[in-house]
Amino acid sequence: MSDFFAQPSVWLVSIIKVIVVMALMMTALAYLSWFERKVVAHIQSRWGPYRVGPHGLLQPLADGLKFLFKEDPTPGGVDKLVYFLAPFLAMSLALCSIAVIPFGPSPLLQVANVNIGLLIILAITSLGVYGVALGGWASNSKYPLLGGLRSSAQMVSYELSMTMSVVGVVLMAGTFNLREIITQQQGYWLGFIPRWNLLAPPFPQVLGFFVYFVSAIAETNRVPFDLPEAETELVAGFHTEYASFKFAMFFMAEYANMITVSCLATLLFFGGWLSPLPTTGVMAWTLYIPAAALAACAVILFIDGLRYSTKFGRIVLPILSLALAGLAAVCALDGVVQIIQGPFWFLSKVFLFLFFYVWLRGTLPRFRYDQLMSFGWKLLLPLSIANVVLTSGFVLASMSK
């Protein structure tokens, strides 16, 4: 603690890291909305955003400007302080937890390496309910109040099983430090099966992962657990009375929470930044997968860009693809190839989880409220407790061996 305050260089590096992570996070949030609209559209045999920029790529920008310049009326009879506080609370808490997530093996790829990283994320998610609940209450309107009530009940119920489900991982790792949890998942089983917590002895955390991910979806108020904003019954739920940028803040908070939850799932169960394939000996070619993947994207984008319907697209898309190809070439360079491994695998896994989120939204109908409650309390909580008991038994047995 004391040396943190004493060294200006630590301050400076931290501030730069915070700025970079914030900028990347904001861009990711904006493009996550584009990604979600595109994927859901294709699931429903539509095109999705197509007009603003080639493939609708400038749509997030247009949306952002729209949110900024729209009229922002404050409904009558609201509790002003709490009404303004709620979106800020939701947004800032959602962005906080990204600070402890390590994106790669280098210490530079993590804003803060703390001993209780996992607990900090759990603590911040447990506070996240206030944004939704208070927003619903302060609006002084029936539907938001119902949405706020639902969300507080739902988030408290599912937070319990979410916290219990990660205990198994903590038991196996013996630490709350996210960096150490990842490094302990290193190595391969039988030479090719990664020793991720999902698969590793003494007790594979399949059950833990199932409970974690289901309750994480409920925690982030996403389909099929989006009861707090069920549009068929509650208009828009807790954010009915919010307009303009305050609405956008709730929206961004939800997406930021999705990203955090996906990062945590990657860290705890899927080996974080570790590669799914061995990288030594004859398997050394796997080091070039990031470069190859980027190059493939560049080729597809180039061919698609040449045939694009508008002139603007025919210019922009090939240029974008050339930039991607350049990035791919850089990733294949000798020095860079090792550095890029961690972030590439980490972000790919997170991306898969985000895709899964959107996929669920395009596929599943919403739960009924009583189903939601009985599912959480009568299935997920007992399952997570069983996971804790079994894991501690197996860990104990492997320790005494």
Binding site: M1, F5, D79, V82, A123, S126, A133, L134, L149
Partner: protein, 166 residues
Amino acid sequence: MPSAQIIVFFILAAVAVLGAVSLIVQRHPIRSALSLIVVMVSLAGLYLLQGAELVAAIQIIVYAGAIMVLFVFVIMLLNAGEEERTNVSRIARYAGLPLGFFLLLQLAWWVGRGTQGMATVAGQSPAMTRNLSRLLFTDFLLPFELTSILILVAILGAVVLAKREN
């Protein structure tokens, strides 16, 4: 002691005290609950400053994240409005205030006396999660288990009370 730590301590302490005062002064139950959350979070910051990471995290997860959510939930569910002020009773004015002041003095005196004792406890570093858990499951096993039974009884009591109406 490095000065930056003291500055952070006083900021957090000031926030905690202001939150506590606001908790009493606010008329609306939700705002009182919010002030209590501010107190809890700044207390967690104070624990963190002492190096008690686990206690700080649990303070936020349990108090701010679970218990206070239930408070807010109940206030929202009952839709409790602003409370009405009644005249402060005479006993409170003539006996309560001096007693409160006396209590404050006593606390200040004990805290002032006790700093050295606390320093030795911190020297054994119970702050580390591992050490804390080991203590809980060896030296303090009996109180720990008794507490859990107490909580279990309280839960059962709540269930019985809630069921009686049906």
